[in-house]
């Protein structure tokens, strides 16, 4: 299933944003990111502008991938939770379903216990949406798409234009 694309529609995207927006408030976090295991940012809530979100997504995915590798080396399936404690800010990273990573950045206005509690609840909800997305992708790959992809008509000229030719 390596080549099953992650396709996100408006309604799912809205739901994901709602959940992480709520998590950010409930956990008194600074920022919450939802990242894909391949390093792409899916959604974000909170003071997002203060952080280079693209680099954060890529490094988080690298971190999780490396930790996954470590887990397998010692015979574990995965480590579902990573916690990095800083002087002011802390990073709580957890796995959601098969392909999501939830990143919560928080300071002294919150606590690890509160973050863990809220993340647990949000993870369940997020997982359900990921499952829906996956199920739809699977259905479409099995039995033809219900929508016409806008990319079916990409031309050489479109690609040349990307490179300013």
């Amino acid at each position: 299933m390596a080549k099953l694309d992650l396709i996100m529609f408006e309604e799912e995207y809205k739901l994901l944003n709602e959940i992480i927006g709520r998590l950010e408030k409930d956990a008194s976090a600074k920022v919450v990111f939802l990242v894909d295991k391949n390093g792409q940012q899916i959604a974000a809530a909170g003071d997002v502008k203060s952080i280079d979100a693209t680099s954060l997504a890529s490094l988080t995915a690298g971190n999780v991938a490396a930790t996954d590798g470590l887990a397998k080396l010692i015979g574990e399936k995965e480590f579902s939770l990573l916690f990095h404690e800083g002087e002011k800010d802390n990073l709580h990273i957890s796995i959601v379903g098969k392909r999501g990573i939830l990143v919560v950045i928080f300071d002294q206005n919150s606590s690890l216990a509160l973050v863990r509690l809220r993340v647990k609840k949000a993870s369940k909800e997020l997982q359900e949406i990921f499952e829906q997305v996956e199920l739809r992708a699977q259905k479409e790959s099995d039995g033809g798409s219900r929508f016409e992809s806008p990319f079916s008509e990409i031309t050489d000229e479109d690609i040349d234009r990307l490179f300013g030719d």
């Binding site: 299933m1 390596a2 080549k3 099953l4 694309d5 992650l6 396709i7 996100m8 529609f9 408006e10 799912e12 995207y13 809205k14 894909d36 295991k37 391949n38 390093g39 792409q40 899916i42 280079d52 693209t54 680099s55 890529s58 490094l59 690298g62 991938a65 490396a66 996954d68 590798g69 992809s149 806008p150 990319f151 079916s152 008509e153 990409i154 050489d156 479109d158 690609i159 234009r161 990307l162 490179f163």
Partner: protein, 194 residues
């Protein structure tokens, strides 16, 4: 694995530069970083050792512009080339959309090139991909070296599926953009087919 977001109208694609140690993978993306419009490029992240050898990966996000009303963004990654970092290389291939194999043209590095392609095939397979069908571009780097092998000779040894083959001198920027463009073309055409 391309990430298509219909809500924010974005397509994100992951391109991985692969090849033996010191073949010029990092040099390729450093050159792209230096040349790119600062508004279109993100931060170049390099997880390297103190001697500037890639330890885990380099990462450069690039906004390419619009296609069919969608913002196209490429995430460029390099792998560590040194043989003993194989576990890391495997991880970085996860969810990739296209491979750029950077071959070192020097005669003495031909065996390392061949070994690296074989290693790529194995690692792709472990990630559920097939080296014979994934978007794939071959770059012949270091064409300016006196000890560079002749192009037909390298082609005979390294080209195996009629993939686009581009001659380059990455530290001078020669062939760097052409290589990226060939990869982008393949990936977007793949999207078209799917």
């Amino acid at each position: 694995m391309t990430f298509i977001n219909y809500a924010s109208r974005e397509i994100n694609c992951k391109i991985v530069y692969y090849g033996p140690g010191l073949c010029g993978k990092t040099t390729n993306i450093q050159w792209i970083y230096e040349q790119a419009n600062p508004e279109k490029r993100g931060t170049l992240v390099s997880l390297a050792t103190e001697t500037d050898r890639t330890l885990f990966f380099d990462f450069l996000p690039l906004d390419m512009g619009m296609v069919k009303g969608f913002k196209v963004r490429f995430h460029l990654y390099t792998v560590p080339g040194q043989v003993f970092y194989d576990a890391s290389r495997k991880l970085i291939l996860r969810g990739c959309d296209g491979i750029i194999f950077v071959a070192d043209s020097q005669k003495a590095r031909m065996e390392a090139n061949i070994e690296s392609i074989a290693n790529l095939a194995t690692n792709l397979k472990e990630n559920g991909f097939d080296i014979r069908s994934i978007p794939y571009v071959l770059q012949l780097n270091k064409r300016d070296m006196p000890s560079a092998a002749a192009v037909p000779e390298i082609e005979r040894l390294l080209r195996f599926r009629n993939e686009p083959m581009i001659e380059a001198v990455a530290n001078k920027g020669i062939g760097v953009i052409d290589t990226l463009k060939a990869s982008a073309r393949q990936i977007l055409m793949e999207l078209q087919r799917n």
